[in-house]
Each structure stands twice: as structure tokens, then as C-alpha cells.
Symmetry: C3
Subunit: 308 residues, 3 copies
Amino acid sequence: MMEWKRKDLIALEDLSREEIELILNTAKSFKEVSTRAVKKVPALRGKTIVNLFFEPSTRTKTSFELAAKRLSADVLSFDVSTSSISKGETIVDTAKNIEAMKVDCFIIRHSVAGAPYLISKNVSCAVINAGDGCHEHPTQALLDLFTVKEKFGRIKGIKISIIGDILHSRVARSNIWGFKKLGAEVTVCGPPPLIPLDIEKMGVRVTYKIEDAIENADILYILRLQKERQRENFLPSLKEYSKIYGIDRDKFLKLKKKVFIMHPGPMNRGIEIKSEIAEKDNSLILEQVTNGIAVRMAVLYLTIGSKR
Amino acid sequence: MMEWKRKDLIALEDLSREEIELILNTAKSFKEVSTRAVKKVPALRGKTIVNLFFEPSTRTKTSFELAAKRLSADVLSFDVSTSSISKGETIVDTAKNIEAMKVDCFIIRHSVAGAPYLISKNVSCAVINAGDGCHEHPTQALLDLFTVKEKFGRIKGIKISIIGDILHSRVARSNIWGFKKLGAEVTVCGPPPLIPLDIEKMGVRVTYKIEDAIENADILYILRLQKERQRENFLPSLKEYSKIYGIDRDKFLKLKKKVFIMHPGPMNRGIEIKSEIAEKDNSLILEQVTNGIAVRMAVLYLTIGSKR
Amino acid sequence: MMEWKRKDLIALEDLSREEIELILNTAKSFKEVSTRAVKKVPALRGKTIVNLFFEPSTRTKTSFELAAKRLSADVLSFDVSTSSISKGETIVDTAKNIEAMKVDCFIIRHSVAGAPYLISKNVSCAVINAGDGCHEHPTQALLDLFTVKEKFGRIKGIKISIIGDILHSRVARSNIWGFKKLGAEVTVCGPPPLIPLDIEKMGVRVTYKIEDAIENADILYILRLQKERQRENFLPSLKEYSKIYGIDRDKFLKLKKKVFIMHPGPMNRGIEIKSEIAEKDNSLILEQVTNGIAVRMAVLYLTIGSKR
């Protein structure tokens, strides 16, 4: 098996198919740990992992924190948005200061695309991108790939339709890179102002019709609608959006086949997804959350381990 | 000895005398751990315990967190009130999402009575109620029972007077259930608008006269006065309340016997309790805090252990 | 070697030269731990250390937290400024309540000088001052002493000039005590309203001319300028301050010798220090941060160890 050589994980755009498969295979062996009575392995004992979240987030931060603890690492978690750490400091200063405390890995979320990359170039420890602006959210896509592979036994040839605000979604971007690299057929669907021009260049099919996106899918990947997009005039109204693109029972009744539902969470129930759909037996939403731990354990293990 | 069979701890109302005694006996054996040089046992190593506090609290959360750490569990603590975790999500969604990360126990505080129960019905891991609205705060009552039993060698026949806002107090409710089930004689005392109608049905004696409550007590259990009750017109004024029901030296001087003081904390010194009283040698207040760790270790051990 | 006898670390003013040297020597042996693959020793396993920060701080709190974790202690960290812990309570009540949970050490930051001392007199566990008002910040000075000793091989005879707001700086006060006790030659320099009257009684030289402070220094210790001092009329303008006292390339070009730069962080780049200076090879700023971990490990080890 190939070896992991990168210091950082910044974007799925950068990774080869082999590198992605290495992460997924490593995650597979870690998934079992969380089912044990003692959910802990000593793999990263004595390592220090820092959650540096310049944008508030509890869900992703918690997932990384649990992944780190199950590898026996020490974790420091702070919301820079609410802390005094960055007062009058550049983010590079903040990172270099914390690095000077001899930490092994930064997990970074920032509202500006490129911030984790900038930090990664200025520190010698590992940097993992936990979401940067409208750029990428690589561990989200990796856990989505893991979930699909586990469910279908393969990714090649699987048809996935990503529904919603493609333009602003780092989750969509990372998933497009990941699913395309592993041979899936990707369709994107949403209101025209929320589909980037030239997105076909990424190798995806575009449709503005939700029925079309559903009919041609093994999986519907429903993005969270950021309500502030309405204020920014990308959307006429939430009600309108929900009526056309919201996934409800009616849109499913027409289907002859089983279509699985994925969502990166947290769900806006009643907007992009209706309650009855989120609870159906074809929902993979909670599986995604479970797999997030295994995938993040794998990423932490590979990036921090690669320094030893 | 009996075995613990419940998945959850939601309310003392639900528990039998035997179940309460099992918790108290288990706590007794854990109390010694916190007096060791190495205050730690491996009982819950590799377990994940989640503090899910929808209402801000530092004291109770800290007590649970320390209890968990002394059992070697991993703890995730967050104030949902200040976090992004519940944005646009129901509390059941939030809990199911975190449960999908393979956690073993939720410790839940919520301003709405019944919220921990609702979550407990929707997750398969253990749920411990850390205070829900005006309903119950079972671990507070358990630590109070433990403290009385340790001091007096028994609970049966002990006379305890609970002073203050009985109507809104989950601490009072849990304590009435607990002390009655274990055979104590309970009196409640406070301004008439703050004593629930029909409270006698719980088997307690009611008095509106503080002298009466004190004379007939081995223990005065002084509730914290929530200052916002004045705004809500339950109280004429804090000064008036303090003069009549506040416990000070004068009210004690008349006594021929020793009466012990308990308080769930944090104290409003000068309102429901005067400084000189909180410091007296008959105050059990700090003992209560110490015993909180042991009792919570017992509850965590029994509920999480019962799943193995 | 002498033994540590104090319960607490409140102020460098209190310590003898031998006590300071004991801390520095202990820190030296701990510094190596943070360079290991497994950055952890079991020295304080099963001990509970509480970060009680009544004033917000991330940097110092994080440094203490990492130091504690590398000694295998359990750490509770909370910002009292944002928590409910102190509602209606005195700081002594808060501390006594937490102490009742059987903790081993408080690390206290408070905006009022003397608060850690007050608490230390009311609890039996160790208390470490992490900064109190304009009084002292002893671990900052200890890490500064450690850094100088490591760089120069000695402290005796070293010339250090402290630049900035001496009047309000607990860092300056602790450093003056520490460097004087160990035989350094200390100069203070800043605008006249920010130099305390009678500061010469501490054994320091005063100058208002930055050129003089630089020429007579092996080390420039640049204090962080608290921007609120302008509002309080201690300063005419930040621009004026920066022009006269801000350390930039020009002020260095005139020098014939190498002068090292220290700063307690976080830097206000462009105010008290210019970017090009902070990055120079004579900057010890990141070394200070690294040494902070070792020094705090030593202080925790000595104070908590002294109780055993």
C-alpha cells in the first residue's frame, strides 16, 4: 500500500485517487474502534492537536475532538471568534505562537478561502482544513465518500446529484472533486443564480430541474441552505426555494427505485429537506456523522504520523 | 445487592427506595477516590460522556465533568445556549447527531421540563437529567441524601425543612421525592405564592412561618432565591423576603438544639442566607459539593455500566 | 538542591534568588518533554488543576493547560468572565466551592491586584497567580528569565531595557523583581506619564529616551501597548507613541552590536513593534512561548508536589 507523504490536508483538489483511497482504507480500520467497549487506541498518545476555529462551529469541531481523543491525543479546542487569542494579531502570528508550544497539528476553519493554506506554509506541523470560505471542506467529502463506498461497495459509476446552493458551498466543491476522482457521475442542481458558471469544467452535469436530478440519481446529496443568501438576493424567497428544491415525500413517490439521501448537517427541516424524508430508511445522514469520526481519525493519524 | 436496570436517570419520582440506596451505596465507595493522591480509577476508560447544557451552568457541569474524568472517561462539554450546535435543529436532532458519534451518555440540562425525557426516548445511550425546568434535578437530591445519611447515619426520621421558592424549584421537588421515599419528615416553608397548592399530596407538611420551620428541623435546606421572581410579581421585594425568610444569626439564637444548614449553591449571601450562617460549623454546604462528585461518579458508573 | 516549600506562587517579589533558580532548573529538565514523540510524563497523573480566569485570556490559559496535560493532570478551564459560576458569589465562595470538589491547584487571573492572594489565604490547595491587575504576572517573568538564561548562559550582568507602559504593566513589575534578584541591570523606558514615580527604588535605571534604552541593552523587552490607555489620556496618540517608542529597523541600524528582542505577546504589529523586527533572527519571541510550557510545568510540579 502507498504511504502518506503530505504534511497537510488542505483540499481534495490536490489529492490523487490513490491518496483518497489510502484515507478511506485507513478510516475503515479505525471505524471499528468506536464500536468497542473501550473506544480508544494509543496511536497518538502524547500528541497535541489544536482546533483553531476562526468561524464558529460545534459539530465539526466536536467530531475532530472525539476523533483525536479516541487516538489518545491531547486536544485544545477554541473558538477564535469568541476568544481573545487573535486580538491585534495576524492569523499567521496566532498560529506560529501556538506552534511554539510544540503542537503537532492544527485543525483550521476560517471564513476566508485559503486561510488554512496560508497557515500551512508558515508552520512546520500538520494543518487540516476544516472548511475555508467557499473553497473546500475536505474531511466532509471524505466522510461522504466513505459512506457511499460502505453502502454501495464502490464509488465508480454511482450517480450522485448535489442539490442546493452550489455556488457558495465548500461541501459541494470538495464532494465534486472527490466523487469525480473516484469515478462517480455527478449532477448539480439548484436555482440558476446558485450554480457557478463554467461548473461543467469540473466534469459535472448541470440541471435546474429537480425532477431530472432525482431521476438520474442513486444518491441525493442535499446541501444546507444558508438563510442569509436570501438577504443577499441570491434567492427570491425561502418558501419559493423550499417548494421547488426542497426534498419531500411527493418528489419521492414518483420514483421506481430506491434513492438514498445524504446531508452534511445541520438540517433546516422544512426548507431544503422535509421531516418525513430525513427519517426514512434510505437516509444515510446519521451514518455520515458516524463515519466522520473514523475518517477524521484516519486523517489525523496519517498527517501526524507522517512527521514521525 | 440489587442491580441497576435503568438506561437513564430522569427523576427521583421514578425511583424505588432500593434504587436510591443502590446509588448512595455506590457513591460511598467512590467518595474515597477523590481523597487519593492519584484521584482516578479506570472504570469508564474509553467511554464518551457528553455534557449537553441547553441552559447555562458551570457548577453542575463542572461537577459532572470531574466525576467523569475521575472515572477515566472522555468528556465533551458544551453550552448549547452559546454554541451553534442547535441552529435550526430540534433538540432530538442535536442529540441523535451527537449519538451517531458513538457516545455513551448524555448529561442534559434544559429550561423546559421533560426535555431530558424526550431525548432519552430517542437515543439508545444513557441520559442523565441535570435539571429540567421546574421539574427535577435528581443528582442534586441524591447528593443531598448522601450528605444527610453520612452526617446522621440514617435518613429515616430526620426532620428537614425546605425554605424558599418551592413552586419553581426542581431542587425542592427532587428532594421531596427523595427524602420522603427514604422516610424523612419533610416540611416546606416560604411565602404563600411560592408554595404550590396541593403540595401536601407529596406527603410534606406546609408552614408559612419560618420559626415553625426552624423549630421542627434537624436540617434547614435553604433554596437559592431566583431574583427574577420579583420581576414576575411572585415577591413583594427582596428586602422583605430576606427579612422574613432569610436565615441569619437571630433566627438561630432562639434554638436549643443544633440545626444543620444545607444549600444547593450558589448562595445569594444577604438574601436567603446571611454570611455568618454560611460559615458556621453546622453548615454542610461544602460537604454537599464534595459529595456531588461521588454521587455523580456513581450515577455515571451505574447508567453507563448497565449497558455493557 | 533546595526544596520548594511554598503552597502558592503569587509574586516574584516574595521569592528568594534560590527559589527562582529552583524553578528555572526544574523547568530545564521539563523542556525536553515537549520535544519527545510522546510529549507526556506521568508526574501529576490523577491531579486536578483548575484554570480560574476572571479576566479573559486564551494565550496564558492555553499555556497552563498544555503544561498540565503534559504532566498528565486533569484540567478544568473556564472563563469566569463569560460563565455563570460567579453569579451573586464572592470570588472566595467560588474558589471554596470548586476546592470542595477536591482539586489540587487553582491558576487564577483577575483584573484586581491581590485577588489570587486573597483566594490563596482561603483555600488549602495550591494557587498560582496568572496575572492580577497591575500587580504581578510571575510565570511570565519566570519564562523570560529562563529564555535569557538559556540564550546568554547567565542572567547576572545582562543589560535589559523594558520599553513601554511600565506604570500599568504586571509583566514589567514581575520582570523587574526577577531580573534584579538574579543580578541583571534593568532600565525602564517610556513616556513620562507611563513610568511610575519612585520606580528607581526597585533598583532600575529610568530613561525617557529610546536611543539611550537601546544603546545600553543586550535585550529590549518590548511591552504590549494597551490601546485603551489612549482613551484614559495617558498617551497623546498611538501614532505619536509608535513613532517615538515603536521599535523599527531604523532604531536598530545605528547599533554596532546585536540586541535581542523580547515581547510577552500578543504583539500589536505597527504600534510598539514593527513587523520586520519581530521576524529578525535576534527575536526571542517564539522561544519565550516555547519556554512558557516548561516553566509552567515546573511551577505546577513544584507547588502541587509540595503538598504530597
